[in-house]
Amino acid sequence: MSPVLEQLAESFQSVTWEVSHGQDVARVPREDWEAFARAAEEAGFEVCLDVTAVDWMRQRPERFEVVACLLSMSHKLRLRMITTVGREEPSVPSLTPIWPGAGYAEREVWDMFGIRFEGHPDLTRILMPDDWEGHPLRKDFDVGSVPVQFKASHQVN
């Protein structure tokens, strides 16, 4: 592990560190999500490349994983921070106060998974229509469950 990450690991004892196929992964408890992100930003991770989520349904005790990919240009390092969110009204603190670039990505996660980001300035649907019901990338959102329009068209002469 590089010195930058070791320093981060020292200040956050609650974080579990993993090496997943040669890439550094920090599993952060939900309470420390924002504080850890701020510390990572101060440690030199200037860019938040991506925020996304995984829906584990019943396979894991906590249903959702929120994943943020960070990049440090100065140290040439990547770090992935992952936290877990429960099934009922899932929400995590937003990363937009630290990295404004996370804004669209968090909107996408809200749109697709229904995970709220507390403190996000404009948490609205981004890809789906505004009046869409449900969150399509959840595992219980079936592929074929969109109501089909013009079903009776074959009956029309």
């Binding site: 670039g101 890809l127 592929v143």
Partner: protein, 448 residues
């Protein structure tokens, strides 16, 4: 005859009633527009843009106008919709509205096997399909812990760098067209055609190739590929000189692009901008140098870096990157290793067609691969490549089955688009299309 009084009142001129008077004009000496100071002109031309949105209390609400630009506007590169709040000619607020091309490709990816995956991802960024396939394949290979043969790596580099050239040519062409340099549009698409012809010869398709797959590439380069690539290598540098003649010092082009759509390096980093748009601000960051993939570190090339972060610098980045990519293509062509173009593991790559007729094993493997696919061990990974628009990443989660549990693409256009509001704040409405074009968003990449 008109009398003097009537003539004066009605201002009627009658020939011969007036003395011819010679009045020297002061044309050429008089000064026009005395209030057009340099500062004012800079402001009018958009050379000085303050990006901070200032709310002006003195302007009544009815003097602001909200204009919807798109989604069917021809200069929005697809179905991008912008809500522009205008105060006269000046944009005060911009809101990009996206999602018109959303087709749920990440959801689709969960229904397709790992070997079918590239068919799906190649349709995301349709101008750089090979980069999408490469990012996906690298992620699958990382989960499988396999290394593809050197020839496959070299072919991947060759094809993606050619793809970078063809994508940048479209960017130049559309950028030219949006600003009014119509010749550039014709030239850019003409040269792209030669590269697409080579892609068609190699992969069978001009776009959406499905060529780079987990385990290597699907088919070896066609016989005589060196001649085709050599022809491109001879042709392109001459064309680039023509483009420079057309645009580089063209006063109209300079007036429309210099100092327009400025973004600072700090803003670019804060808004996760990558690729040519980031490098135009002066940040020397290229994934091919920082985190090399597919053996690209063995080829020599430079990373062009701009300084102003305006539309002109982004245009220069693309031209210079074409030159650098040509260098890489030439080196790959000269040092193309011999060997297999995919790994020999029959569990991952299908057997050669001829083997299926002779070997029961090959037939079974072929059948299993195309019905069930191969299983990938549990795990998650993120692999990124430098696409023509920036960092194109693939976050892949497998739960041990033959289909990805979750596939997410970090689309560079999506993030670059996010910075449009600050790039266009307080600039002229006429510069909108120039700024959009220079960001080079591909809506298939944005909406996925």
């Amino acid at each position: 005859m008109v009398d003097e009084k009537t003539r004066e009142t009605l201002d009627i001129w009658v020939a011969g009633t007036e003395e011819p008077q010679f009045q020297p004009t002061d044309e050429g000496t008089q000064e026009f527009g005395l209030d057009e100071t340099d500062a004012r002109l800079d402001d009018q031309f958009g050379r000085v843009v303050s990006d901070d949105y200032v709310f002006d209390d003195e302007v009544a609400d009815d003097e602001r106008m909200v204009v919807n630009m798109g989604p069917q506007h021809p200069s929005t590169h697809g179905v991008l919709r912008l809500q522009l709040e205008l105060e006269g000619e000046v944009i005060r607020r911009t809101k990009p509205i996206i999602g018109y091309l959303h087709t749920g490709m990440e959801k689709t990816a969960e229904q397709l096997t790992f070997s079918q995956g590239p068919t799906n991802v190649t349709r995301m960024d349709y101008l750089a399909p090979l980069h999408c396939e490469l990012a996906f394949s690298l992620a699958v290979e990382r989960l499988l812990d396999i290394e593809v043969p050197p020839r496959a790596q070299a072919i991947r580099v060759l094809m993606t760098e050619l793809n970078r050239i063809s994508s940048h040519l479209v960017a130049l062409a559309t950028n030219g067209m949006d600003i009014g340099a119509l010749s550039m549009m014709i030239y850019g698409f003409r040269e792209r055609e030669s590269i697409l012809a080579f892609f068609e010869k190699t992969t069978g398709l001009r776009m959406n190739h499905n060529y780079i797959r987990p385990g290597g590439v699907v088919v070896d380069l066609p016989p005589g590929w060196k001649d085709d690539v050599a022809a491109i290598l001879v042709d392109m540098p001459q064309r680039l000189v023509q483009y420079d003649d057309l645009l580089k010092d063209n006063p109209i082009w300079l007036a429309r692009t210099e100092g327009v759509g400025v973004i600072s390096p700090e803003e670019a980093i804060a808004f996760s901008i990558t690729g040519p748009a980031l490098r135009a601000t002066g940040v020397d960051w290229d994934l091919r140098k920082a985190f090399p993939y597919s053996g690209i570190e063995q080829y020599e090339f430079d990373v062009p870096v701009g300084e102003n972060g305006d539309v002109y610098d982004r245009y220069r980045m693309r031209v210079d990157e074409i030159t650098e990519s040509l260098k890489i293509v030439e080196q790959v062509m000269d040092t193309m290793p011999k060997g297999d173009y995919r790994i020999g593991d029959a569990k991952i790559t299908p057997p050669p067609r001829a083997r299926i007729d002779e070997s029961m094993e090959a037939l079974i493997h072929h059948f299993k691969l195309f019905t069930e696919g191969f299983k990938v061990p549990e795990g998650e990974t993120y692999m990124a490549v430098e696409s023509p628009r920036g960092e194109l990443g693939c976050y892949l989660v497998s739960d041990g089955q033959a289909r990805p549990y979750r596939m997410h693409t970090r689309a560079p256009s999506f993030y670059n688009l996010q910075a449009l509001p600050i790039t266009m704040a307080d600039s002229l409405v006429a510069d909108t299309v120039a700024t959009i074009a220079s960001m080079d968003p591909v809506m298939g990449d944005v909406d996925r």
